[in-house]
Amino acid sequence: MSLAEELAKQQRSISVAEFFERNKHLLGFDSPTRGIITTIKEAVDNALDACEEAMELPDIFLSVSRQDREIYRIVIEDNGPGIIPDQIPFIFGKLLYGSRFHQIRQSRGQQGIGISAAVLYAQLTAGVPTLIVSRTGPEHPAHEFAIQINIDTNEPEVLTRREIEWDRTHGTRIQIEFKSTLAAKKRLIEYLRYTSVVNPHARIRLEIDGEVFMFDRVSDEVIACPRAIKPHPHGIEVGQIRRMLQAAPGTLESFLMSSFSKIGKKTAEEICRIAKLSCTADAPSLSANEQKRLIEAMQMVKVPPPPISQCLSPIGEDLIIRGLEKEFQMDFVKARTRPGSVFSGHPFIIEAAIGYGGKLAADGNAQILRFANRVPLMYQQGACAITSAISAMNWKNYAVAQAGLPTGPLLILVHVASTSVPFTSESKDAIASIPEIEREITLGLQDLARDLKIFLSRRDRNRLQEDRARAVCAILPELAEKVAEIVELPKPDISSIEGRIMHKLIVRKTVSEGIVRVEIKNYTAGQASLSLYTITRDSENNADPPPDFLTKMDEDFTRVWQVVVDPGKVWTTTYSGSAHGTVEIRGIDPRNVVMVDRDE
């Protein structure tokens, strides 16, 4: 036997399932820690996509519970439209089976690998089949399947199939068990938190060994499901056009006009002319050479950009802000949705948001939230075009410190929505460096950073004013007193200085010889209407004017005065008491109030 014959014996086709078994990293199953996140991510993506298609507000339930030392059970339940029983084995038990791969529109999942890869991973590590329950509506029963994948053939194996009772009227439940660890628990919660930020219409509940995490919805608006569009002539590739031509009996001209977006009769004729092909040529019978000329011609003609608004669904500035505010406490937050744009014939929209201050960590790098088609990107931040676009900006121009990435209490969100998000790999962790996309990210962030700069300088100015106010209120009276003592003259009245500098409401409490005096001076331009609360242990009721409301709790007396002070006027009350207790003002913007408690 010759060597060639010997080798030929070893040659055989490789099953897709087998290929992925060997290349788990391509799908995000390279380590036990990642397994849980990837599975939940894929299942949540599918659930959100399904709910979107069914125009439902997503209600997603997740649970992670340890079964054995290394085996975890993961349950994902949604209220989507459900899956008809005959489809279930294929969706979960066959890799590369999906409904969205051939459609040109924004969706989370695409290739149909994700969840079936999890099924494969489960049978490889735990050896337990995956349980699927699905119901398509109240008039249909729920079906439960136990499924595995045949690794050699990439075909589903149904171990059991039965009708069961289920309390949901429609939806899908997946129960999957595999070897994992919860080392990445923080990241899992983070992932859901970020998901909830860009899907403010979803409610997600997570239970980890009984511990509950809720991510509530802030918007009851069902998001419009993006509609599929026809491919755009720019960015079409040989294989794709060959398939399309074969499926399109008729003339070349009618093929061009009916199979692509934005090609009319005039453009179709121009393409044929440049490609030196007849408009009436039979489309399926073009030779390879003719197909190549056709593609080249299609790239050369001027065609308007694809219809972006119908195939993409940006989150919108308002909902991004509401989503962020629900999960993060910040002093400043702004969002931008850029106008749609195109790379290689693929429509895309960039959305960005910047948050600052509040409870964001004050030191270290800015927190970066990356999203592609409403899915958070959790890994490979350094390899992502979003990160490099952020680092390439000069943040110091916007009063933000920078060491590669911007630093400080800063949050940056970037969402890339596209019919075809250019990921660097199948595990969909990082966006590839595409100049058109990077440019749009930069423009969006620059716009936001300008707003941030205005906010920061205004805040600094306010701080300065605050500083002045404190100086005047806390120190000047003492200075006046001491100076009067030195020059042996009566203490000068400094209220006009206070008023001129401050334009604020001054609340001053002084205690002298057992008499407490609370004075409210209105240096603002308008009338001030407010409530004065004092909580003290002073029991004597001789306040003048008396409080409008008095209550006793344990040892403490709470007194409330309803006060109206005209601009430039002073309101005073006095009562017997001690220096102890608290004074509080309500019903007026605290930024306009300066509280001076001389006994502090």
């Binding site: 300065l464 500083d467 002045r468 404190r470 100086a471 005047v472 806390a474 120190i475 000047l476 003492e478 200075l479 006046a480 001491k482 100076v483 009067a484 003592e485 030195i486 020059v487 003259l489 000068p492 400094i494 006009s496 200085i497 001129r500 500098i501």
Partner: protein, 362 residues
């Protein structure tokens, strides 16, 4: 001026500061003070008095910010305290003032530096020295030995003292307030101010004061205000030449500069403290080279200090430029006591006489 008059003047000027604030407040203005900016950039040479003084740059401190308001409040407390102290004829040190402020709540000093600066501010605002506020310096005055007769007002009455005949081997100690000393007469040709105690003692032991009719003053490192004031008075009253003898390193050149030109910290009273005619006798970098003195290599700090002196207006002369550049080239420094390598008499018999005749003093 009698002590009583001085007290009345000081009290008046201190109250004047408070009075200004009081008037500002009555007019509805935010109280403020204006002070010259105390940096190297804001000292200028004054041709008439031949000393370095503060320039025209002023900074205004107004009580409009919390920081400055607090500074003014502290100043008010200090004025109030000093006024009381002068009235009661008591005195205190800067260190004591810092501790006294413990009881001033908000106006408490956070560090000794802060109270020192504040006192310097008051000196500038009142155009008086801190001794007039009954504030005593912490450090001892330096000692002096030589053919000089003076009269000191002591607690036990006036005393006439001759600084060779009436003192011990260590010499006469300059009091903290030099204004209580009256210079009577002398039999000297020049004054030599010496950085280290070892060299001062060497000159006394070798009888240098007698042999050359010299008044010896021990500077004790960076000289105290009283020492500088004393040198200034001998120089102006008797018109005696003053030479400064220090180690041969950048830090010692600064000692000379503060004797001759004044220090940045006290530029507001340079006229009283500086002796612009004082000349540097050594150790010069050229001496290190010519006498092959035992020496050490310059360290990074030395080199930095020398470089900084090249841009210091007080060293902007050809002489200093040449010496400093030579020293940087030699990369060496020597102490004044390094002359002992050539015998204990070398400095008094050879080096100093040679330098003094070079300088045209003997």
């Amino acid at each position: 001026m009698s002590k009583e008059d001085l007290d009345i003047l000081a009290t008046g000027r201190l109250i004047g500061i408070a009075r200004k604030w009081y008037d500002q407040m009555l007019e509805g203005q935010i109280p403020s003070i204006a002070l010259p900016t105390r940096t190297k950039q804001n000292i200028e040479y004054d041709d008439t008095s031949e000393v370095w003084k503060y320039g025209d740059r002023e900074s205004i401190r107004s009580a409009g910010t919390a920081k400055s308001a607090l500074h003014l409040l502290k100043m008010a407390y200090v004025i109030w305290f000093l006024r009381k102290q002068i009235g009661e004829n008591r005195s205190s040190t800067l260190r004591e003032l810092y501790y006294i402020s413990e009881g001033w709540k908000k106006a408490k000093f956070q560090a000794q530096d802060e109270s020192n600066f504040l006192i310097e501010d008051l000196e500038i605002l009142t155009d008086m020295q801190r001794e007039a506020f009954h504030l005593r310096p912490e450090e001892d005055g330096a000692t002096i030995f030589g053919p000089l007769k003076l009269r000191e007002m002591t607690r036990r009455g006036e005393k006439d003292i001759h600084c060779q005949d009436d003192v011990g081997e260590a010499g006469y100690q300059i009091p903290t307030n030099v204004e209580t000393v009256e210079l009577l007469e002398h039999d000297a040709k020049f004054v030599i101010a010496i950085e280290t105690g070892g060299m001062y003692a060497r000159l006394i032991e070798n009888g240098f004061d007698g042999d050359h009719q010299a008044i010896l003053i021990h500077l004790k490192g960076q000289p105290a205000r009283s020492t500088r004031r004393f040198l200034n008075r001998i120089n102006t009253q008797f018109n005696l030449p003053v030479v400064v003898f220090t180690d041969g390193d950048p830090w010692s050149y600064r000692i000379y500069a503060s004797v001759a030109y004044g220090a940045i910290k006290s530029a507001h009273i340079s006229e009283l403290l500086a002796t612009p005619k004082a000349r540097f006798i050594g150790v010069q970098p050229t001496d290190i080279r010519d006498y092959h003195l035992p020496s050490d290599h310059l360290n990074d700090k030395d080199i930095g200090a020398l470089r900084s002196e090249l841009t210091d207006p007080r060293f902007a002369s050809d002489y200093w430029k040449e010496q400093i550049e030579l020293q940087l080239k030699l990369n060496l420094k020597s102490e004044q006591q390094a002359f002992a390598a050539k015998g204990l008499d070398f400095v008094t018999k050879e080096y100093l006489p040679a330098r003094l005749s070079d300088m045209g003093i003997i």
